[in-house]
Each structure stands twice: as C-alpha cells, then as structure tokens.
Symmetry: C4
Subunit: 363 residues, 4 copies
Amino acid sequence: MAPSPAHSIPGTMLCLADYQREAAQRVDPAIWAWLEGASGSGMARQREQASFARHAILPRVLAPVAHGSTRLRLLGQDLAHPVLLGPVGYHQLLHPQGELATAAGALETVMCLSTMSSVAVEQVATRAQGPLWFQLYWQARREDTLTLVRRAEAAGARALVLTLDTLAQPASHHAIRSGFALPPHISAVHLRDIPPAPTIAGHWYHPALAGLAAAAPVLEDLHWLRSQTDLPLIAKGVCHTGDAQAIMQAGFAGLVISTHGGRALDEAPAPLALLPAMRAALGGDAVILIDGSIRSGGDVFKALALGADAVLLGRPQLHALAVAGSLGVAHMLKLLREELELTMALAGCTSLADITPACLIPA
Amino acid sequence: MAPSPAHSIPGTMLCLADYQREAAQRVDPAIWAWLEGASGSGMARQREQASFARHAILPRVLAPVAHGSTRLRLLGQDLAHPVLLGPVGYHQLLHPQGELATAAGALETVMCLSTMSSVAVEQVATRAQGPLWFQLYWQARREDTLTLVRRAEAAGARALVLTLDTLAQPASHHAIRSGFALPPHISAVHLRDIPPAPTIAGHWYHPALAGLAAAAPVLEDLHWLRSQTDLPLIAKGVCHTGDAQAIMQAGFAGLVISTHGGRALDEAPAPLALLPAMRAALGGDAVILIDGSIRSGGDVFKALALGADAVLLGRPQLHALAVAGSLGVAHMLKLLREELELTMALAGCTSLADITPACLIPA
Amino acid sequence: MAPSPAHSIPGTMLCLADYQREAAQRVDPAIWAWLEGASGSGMARQREQASFARHAILPRVLAPVAHGSTRLRLLGQDLAHPVLLGPVGYHQLLHPQGELATAAGALETVMCLSTMSSVAVEQVATRAQGPLWFQLYWQARREDTLTLVRRAEAAGARALVLTLDTLAQPASHHAIRSGFALPPHISAVHLRDIPPAPTIAGHWYHPALAGLAAAAPVLEDLHWLRSQTDLPLIAKGVCHTGDAQAIMQAGFAGLVISTHGGRALDEAPAPLALLPAMRAALGGDAVILIDGSIRSGGDVFKALALGADAVLLGRPQLHALAVAGSLGVAHMLKLLREELELTMALAGCTSLADITPACLIPA
Amino acid sequence: MAPSPAHSIPGTMLCLADYQREAAQRVDPAIWAWLEGASGSGMARQREQASFARHAILPRVLAPVAHGSTRLRLLGQDLAHPVLLGPVGYHQLLHPQGELATAAGALETVMCLSTMSSVAVEQVATRAQGPLWFQLYWQARREDTLTLVRRAEAAGARALVLTLDTLAQPASHHAIRSGFALPPHISAVHLRDIPPAPTIAGHWYHPALAGLAAAAPVLEDLHWLRSQTDLPLIAKGVCHTGDAQAIMQAGFAGLVISTHGGRALDEAPAPLALLPAMRAALGGDAVILIDGSIRSGGDVFKALALGADAVLLGRPQLHALAVAGSLGVAHMLKLLREELELTMALAGCTSLADITPACLIPA
C-alpha cells in the first residue's frame, strides 16, 4: 500500500539522502525493494554512485557572481534550472495520487511522464507546472506506438523520450526476493488497451529474449517515428557513440546517457564516465542529458562540466513523493537547485555556460 | 557425509551466489572448508574475484538481436553455449551419486571428468548429456598415465585435459583447520590400481617437493603423450605465454589459463588479467579456455571479450549439486546461460564472435 | 556551555588525535557538531584527510643534523616554527576565556585572530605570546571593513588575512541536526556595531546568494584594501592559480590555500594537491600557506616539501583548548613541533629550506 | 613476565600469521604492545604490509624443478636459505632464556644479535646453530663502539650490522599507553658498562634531538669503523640511493633497506618499493638485504625478485619464541623455507638466481 505522505516537510530533510532515508522508513518493504532494486548484482548502480566521487570542483574567488542564474533553453523551452524529472513508472505505489502529485510538485521544470504511468497523460497534463514530456516504450505494433504518440501530443507533451535500453530487462533479485507484485488497483494505464506483443520466435534460449523480434525497435523504426510526429525526439539509454550518431542522423534532437538507474545491463559503466566522449562525438548542438545517481547540486555541476545539458532524476522524486507528496517533490527540487547555485557561485560560475571541464580537477 | 539434495529447485536460487550461500548451509563444514579453501593466504583467489570488477560492458541499442545464439564449435564439437563443467574431484562428497548426478545435469555442455573422480569414467559416460572430456593427472610411470588415457578413450571421451599446475599443491589452511579427511567410502577410483610414485630424491628440503622428479611432466612428456592418442589435447593451468607456445608446438589444441581456483600458487595473478597477452601470443586458432571465479553471465562475457573461447566452472557445479542434485546443476547452467544471453543482447551481440575487446570499457 | 578544561595535561595526550578524542568527550554535542561539521556531505574534508597519505617521506642517514632548527622568517617576522594558529571563530564555545586562553598558549608562533572572535582584538593582543595577525571578513560597506582594519592595526596586528572563500557558506548538516545555536553570551564582538549588509537583489533563487552583491569582494576591492593599510596582506581560501596571480598583482604578500576546513565548497579538492601548481605559478617569493587536516609533524613536513612556507591549524587548537586550556594549546603545539623536528632529523633536513619535493616519494 | 613457551608445536601453527595470533594470546599485553608497536600513527608499518600485495607471481609449468635449492653464498658464508633472523632487542621479554633460546632454534641460518640483547654475545655464540652476526648501535664515544666490536669479534661474529636509522626513535604511542617498562631483571647487557652519552647541546627544541651530536654517526665514522675491523660491514636502515652509494664507498659490503619495522620515521615508504632503484644504483655485487613485514615464502620470493639477496625477519622470531621457544623458531623458519621452495617450484625457479623481476606481474 502506498504510504501516507506528511502534510509538511519534516525539518530533518536537508539533502536528497535525507529523503531517501526517510522514505525507506515509510515505504512498504516490497515496494522499497522494487524502487531501490537494480538488475543482477547491482554493479551498474555501484559504478554510477562511485563515478561522481572521482571529480572535485575547483573553487574560485573574486568573481562577481551576484547576478548569476541556472536558466537554460532546452528543446525550445525556457527552464529555470537543469534538473528534470525523468520517467519512472507507477508513482501510485508511493503516493495515492501518483503522478498527479508528482506533477503538482514539479515546479519550474520538465516532468517526463512514463509510458508505465499509473495515471493517464491527459490527467497528468492538467496538473503539470512546467513542460510535460512523454516517455515512450516501443510497442510490438507500430499502430500501438502511434496511439501513444498521439495521446501524448493531444495532451500537450512538448517532447518524446524514446527508451531504447530495455530490450530485455534483467530481474532485480532484491525485488524478487521481497515478493514485490503490482497491487491490482495499480496498472500501466496507457497500455490497458494495447494487446500483448505477438511472439516471433528467435533463436535465444532465454524466454525474455524469445519474442524480441516483435518488440525491439531498430534504426528504421526511429526514422519512421521521426516521420510521424513534429515533437522533438530524445533517445534514452544510449551509451555508445556510434549508436548515438546513428540516432542523431535519424533526426533526433538528442539523447539521455543512461543505464536505466542500474536496471538494464548489470555490468554497464557509469553514465558520467561516458559523457566527455559522447559530447566530443556529437558536437555542441546535440542535446545530451544524463541520469543515474545524481543526488546533489555538486553532482549536477559535474555532469554539466563534463558535457551534459541537463540531468534527469529518477528515484529521488519518488523518495520525496513518499515522504511529503507534492510538497516533498517541490522541496527536493528546491534543495538540489540551491545546492547547484551555491556550487556555481563558489566555483565562480554565473551561468550554466560557465560550467566547463576546466572547473573540475581529479579527486 | 554428503548432504541430501532437494528434489526441486528452491525458489530463492536466482543466481550462482544463491547456490553458494545455500550450499554453505547444507554441506558439512569440513567438506565445505575443503571445497571453498584455497592455498595459503587465499590471495590468488581474492585476485580472481577482483579481476572481473575492473571491466564494464558497454551497452548497445538498436541492434537487431532477436535471432542471436550462444552456439560455438569447440574441438570439432557443436556446443549450445560456452560454459563448460571443469574438472573437480570427489563429487560424492557433495552428493551420494557424485559425478553420475553431475553428468545427468550437464545439459547441452561438456563435462570434464577429473582423474580424481569418485565414480569411474566408464559409469559416468553412461549418464553424460553432452561431450565428455577427461582430465588427466600425470602419473609417475608413463604406463600408468597411458592406462588412464586408454580408459578415457574407451569410455568415449572426446578430449583430454592435462593438468600442469599442481606439480606440488600448497595446503589449504582452511581445510586443514577444519579437520577435513576423505571418508573411507570415497576415493579416486581411477587411481585405485596405480602404485604410488617411486620417490627420486631431489635437493629440496620441502617433503612435498622431494619426489617431484618422478611425477612432474616436462615438455618431452607432452610430445610423448601427443604420440599416444588421437584425442585433442588441452593443457590446464598455463599462465605464461612462453610455456603456452611450447605446449602448442607439442601439438596441443589449446589450454586453460587457470590458477586452479586459487589452489596452486597462492600468489598467482588473476587468469582474466592474463587473457589478452595469451591470445596475442597464440593467435586466433588456438583454443583458449579460462576458469576462476566465473559466477555470472557478465563474467563469461568479459572472459570471451578478452580472448577466451569458452570458460570452465569449478566450485559452482558442486554448490548446485549439493543444493539440488542433477536438477541443481542443470538449473545453475541455465541461469548462467540466460545471463549470458541477456548480456549479449544488451551489448548488441548476436553471436560469440561479436564479443570483442571493443565491448568492454574500464570500470 | 563551554567545558571546564583540565588544569594539567592528561598523560594520554601523545598526539593531536588524542586531543581530538578527548575533546569529543568533554565538549557539548551540539558545539562538537558545529566544530567538527563540514559543509554538505563532507566530501571536501574527506579529501583533505586522504591527501596526506598519498606521500611517504624518504629517510636519510649519516647527515649531521644535530644543529638543525625549524626557524623561519615570515612576513618580516622571525618564527620558531612553521605551525601557525589559523583563524577560527568563537573560542568561548570551547573555553570560558575563549581567545584569551588560546593566545596565552600560542607560544613562539603566530595567532591569527578571527573577525568572528568572541573576544575583542584589543584584549587578545594583551595576552599574545607571539605576533598577532587579524583575519578579515569583507563587510558590505567599505567603511565597516576599514573600521576592522584600523582596530587590528591599533591593537598591534602584524598582518591581515582576508578570507575570500565564504562568499556563501553551505550549511553543515551535522551542525543543523545537532540543534547548534550560539548561546546568548557569546557573539562576534567585532561585528557588534556593524549594521547588517543592505541586500541588493541578485538573480539567484537561493536566499544565501540573494544579497551577495553587497558583501562579496571583487578584485577592485583588494586594490582598495591594499591602498588603505601598510600591513602585509594575505588572501585566504585561494585554490585557483589564476585567482592567485591576480591577487598577487593587487599587492598581496601571499595566500592561504584552503577550503575552509571543508566548510566552503563541499566538492573542493584537497589543498595539499593544489600546492605544487600554486608554487610553480607564483614563484619562490610569494608567501604560500596552507591549512586543512594537518594533524602531525609529518603532515607539516609534506606541506612544506610540496611548496608551503608554513601551515595553519584550525580545529586542533580548539580541541586542545577544550581539553586543557592555554596549557593544552601550548602542549599541542609542542607535540607538533617535536614531531616536525623528529621528521626533519630522520629525513636528513636541518632547516626548512632542506625540505623539498625530493624528500617525498609516492606512498 | 615472559610467557611459558609450549614444549611442542601447537598443531594449529600453519603459517607465520598463526604464530602471531597465538603469541598475542600468550604474551603480556604491555610486552605485546612494545613488540607490535610502531612509531607514531603506524603509517610506515601499514605501507610495509600493503607493499607485498601489489605484486603477483607468474606461475610456470613444465620446468624440471626437482633438483632445486634455496642455497646462497652471502658474505663468504654458505647458507641453506635466504631468510635470516634480524636484530631485535630483549628476547627475554618473550622467553626466560631469551636470545639463547632463539639461537638454538636458528637452524641453518644467520642470527644477527642485537646490541640490545638481553644475553651477552659470548653466551649466545655458544648456542648458535649457524653464522652469528652482531648488530652494532653507534655509541657516543668511539672507544665504546670499539669495545662492542671487539666483543663481537672475539665471540666469533662473522659480520657487523651497523644500524643507522635510529638517530632518534619516535615513541610508539601504543607501547606508551600500555605502560610498558623493561622489568628490572632484563637489560641491554652489552651496554651495562658503557656510560651514557655526554650531551652536546644542539639547536633543536625536541629533547630527543638535543644530544644527537655525540651519538649519531656520520660518514667519517663509517670510514673509521671500516679501518678498525676485518669483519664484513653491513649498514642497516638505508633507504636513499645516495646514502647507499656513500656507504659502499666507505668499504661496506652492503646494506639492509629497512624502516626499522615501522619504528623509525612514521611516514617512511615501504622498503620493498625502494628495492629496484637501490639495486640499480648499487649494481649486482653489493649485498642488499631487506626487512619489514615479510610473513610468507611469497613475500621472500618477491623481495628477491625485486633485487634483494636475502631477507631479515624481525617480530616473527619473537612470536615463535613466545609460542614454543627454540622449537617454535626452528619451525617458523621451516614453514617459511618450505613456502619459499613451493613458490619457487611453482614459479619454475630452481635457484635463487632464477628469481628475477620477470617472475612478477602487477596484481
């Protein structure tokens, strides 16, 4: 059962780690296992977490930083700061109102709604405080994919984020052991009327891979998708520069370097470590976002310094949602934004453009 | 006493680490100490375990991987996957039926039976589900070595694996402290009629080295062995490229880079770290296998990426045997095979040939 | 409440870590949290502590070291050793007499009094055992800054240390959680008659950054300060060589490489790691001091070897003050000085000038 | 009080770590603190221990190693193996018979008796099982130093080991806290009739350094010593190649790279790390020994591979002495020798000359 969020911010919430600790106390253990779980042994997530500690930020003094700002323009939209809410499914597991509550707390930023949302995009759009993006899981039949695109467009989504890294998702042993199962009143509402993929037998032995042929998009599908909508397209879960270049040539505006928060390939590298090569490969115009274990303003700063335009938060939005609902989400974003501003000021940066590799030093 | 294996797979067996944990509960502590023990301080084994974590696997997207497969051709035999059961002695310590039970669970793969088997090769051959290989310990008298070779040939073995790294085996302190001793009803049946080596005094002070002259093979012995049988020959326990080249020139088909699971030289390096130089030294045609702390599909993938043709499992087969007999062995192999397939699919590989050094990135 | 210091040195005080441990027992937990706390997650402080362990000191033998000494000439003053007491606020939190007690124990060294002192500079000057320096926090109005300068000059201060790295200070979560608040009878007496800064709204969202415009000095302010006093000027909290060069061109005598003991930018690098580049950038004549987790004579030696002229202690003076008042401060300095002498003798150095990069070796 | 040693080897003594553990149970805590203590924070000793783990040993196969041996010729003496007993003071703290018991167990190797022995060299010589060396601490007056030399010569010592690294010895905090004091019946018998050094005041503040002028040898003293005796001379505690070259030019036969088991400079590097440069600087003819945390045959092998001719054991001889007297010392040496032989055989080495840098690989 979803926890009852507090009606005000507990005074002990000073940073994102506090929200995580507090949420761990409030959330049902099986749901917590689902939320915190990663695939396999959890190596990918450990690497994510370790990657930020490898960089220190060089302090600057005497710069006139009083009039700085974290503003940016992203996919034609003006945003107050570069911390976006990334797509995560089933918010109702953490809060009775689910994605409606999250959207209400997503002040001055993008909320990217998941295909696996427990509330429909049309409803969430009514509560959105900033631009709404829609995350798209490829469906076995193009017409079903198109149905999702049309719903997102109609609801006012400003961009589509096509997730590519979950062709098959390794199980989280932690979640399985906890006995996690989706409760009957919660479901992926967008997929309610989409029939399951017809299986086309492959050669693999693993059952999860047997029906892949029908459900996994290939490059040609991206070209097709590009032809079907005017919305900006972002590919999520891209780590290889060659893949990225092909995606950009298919007309995408950019990508999210992501290992799905450690939920995809167990042995994946840390996204942060892939950033410099990705920026070098794609050039300055491509939109490059990143997610994975970003938990402080310093983490955001490092991601931007190494080449990201903005970052996506995953689990932290659900921690905050579980602790204090919309208020928690808004406060959690406020903490991160203030940390980023303080970091920028102490590093002598007055705009996101000032945040460059020269701001970092090996730790 | 050997534990009573379960008659079905416990639902908590999700990965090889689960089998190890469960086996630790079921197996007699002295037998467990023997099985898990390594030589000396255990440094070699610690290095093995740490070596895999140094590499991450680069995720790929958009590759059409539906029709992939883990098939390979090895020593003229078609195998469904590259995970083989390596030679380990005395399976009856873990299961009343010993190697018979293991063979019955070794679905679609090679079982390499040890000279130190507690069940004779002729019997094991009747239960083999795939190609049977025979591991050969060099005997002090060539005629005794030949007796073993002829029995293996007659039983239908498809390859001989000559172990070279146990010229003298340092004691496992852990096993000694546990008071481990082979129970009277279990023995190395192949050696029952072979007289102990006549001691030819050497100069060493260490008793274990005094009789070496008679029992340790030298290069000339390998040439002789090559002349005695038509079976493909594999040398096991080779770490040095110069040694490897001499072995190949003696007509061997390949080798296993191995430190005997940490049971030989305590201070040995991790086999994985030796792979790239070994492949470079021997070229593409030599069969290069590896063993040592391979516990996941990701580990198998990394070994193949760095130059191995296939891998051997040691202790995990006994963990699985102790937990659920033949069924356990089969299920353990299935887990590993599925993990490998999932890893391949997420890394954009549809065949083992696609798994190259470019698939890895330093972690 | 401030602890009651012992009237003699406990026999268990053998090194600075002992003083820290003992102080932790004696000091009120909230005050301890304030003293030991660092900004944010505490990463900057962890890096400080780890940086010293990266270097070992090469022992020398046969050098005639009997007549060595730790003497130095710094800013025109002769000092017995290169360990100075850096500025820390509110000593009355640790001792009823506060900075008066510290000054009485600061034998044969510089005490640098903080703007945030709980005792006025005029009083402290009457107890100073060596040269008194005054640490200056920039005030929103130049006339207020000048009032502080004039008081320091009149009290006999021999140098001014202008702190630049606290443009905005991230909160110490540890201190906030402990409920620390300054007791009513303790205050920053030098600021009693200085009105709060008038806020000039900036663009930042973070409240701590809103009024920055009025309070943070820029380069022009340093030139102005240089024109207002004949005292030597030192800038504190400088990490970037470009900043340092601009400061030296403004007529400063030198700087302190510091991250404010981990209280400024959470993600800052270790000062020790910045030393060699700073010395290379500024040349041999600039005064370069350093602070941050210096806890032994070996740490002092390493800082000098890497380019520092002298070091500043922060928290250790308050640990000693809490344990045994003036006597504790004097003893703590004696321990560090003896450790430095012993290190120098064993490294074959008879003067500070002998301590060069060649004395170190990677650890 | 010295512990009562067992009259036979406990069956659990399988390696040197076992002797250490067992001794810790038997020895008086204050004596244990003295024995195990290192100077200052103990960093030098930690580095010693970590240095061996950085190297792995490459296994070899097929080499005809049956007739190998660990024999060596050192300073004109034939030794069965390269593991020597280094000088440690006051063996009576660990055993009622002290150095007499140690000497009786030092089978087939050198025992180097300390100036600080609790039993006189003349008595120890009567029990020596192999060559006796004498370790010399420089005395304030040359005639006193000469008295020690003459006693050693007369007692049949075959070499003199002049310790240079304890010009001043930092206190072991661990020993001080334990309240360790030499019991009245134990003393440094060789120094009984030597008057304390007359103090010649130096400039240092540290009391331990005040009287250095009289007691610390300089290069000229080494030349003088060389002129006074025909015994081979070894300098102990040399880390710097320049120091070493000067010592060799003074006619010394070689040196021991040592940081006095972590009892001298707290921040010293690991001796093992200094070996390759030392061998390169001195060439192949110089005798280079090493001590410091050698606890296994693998450690001995690594030291030899990196350039040492032989190694010295410190604390392990006292662990063994405390556990089982002479028998323990002999058994401890036997364990180490067997481990070394096994390591050599598995690394394909039949003589110490075969142990070269090519036998190692980074771990």
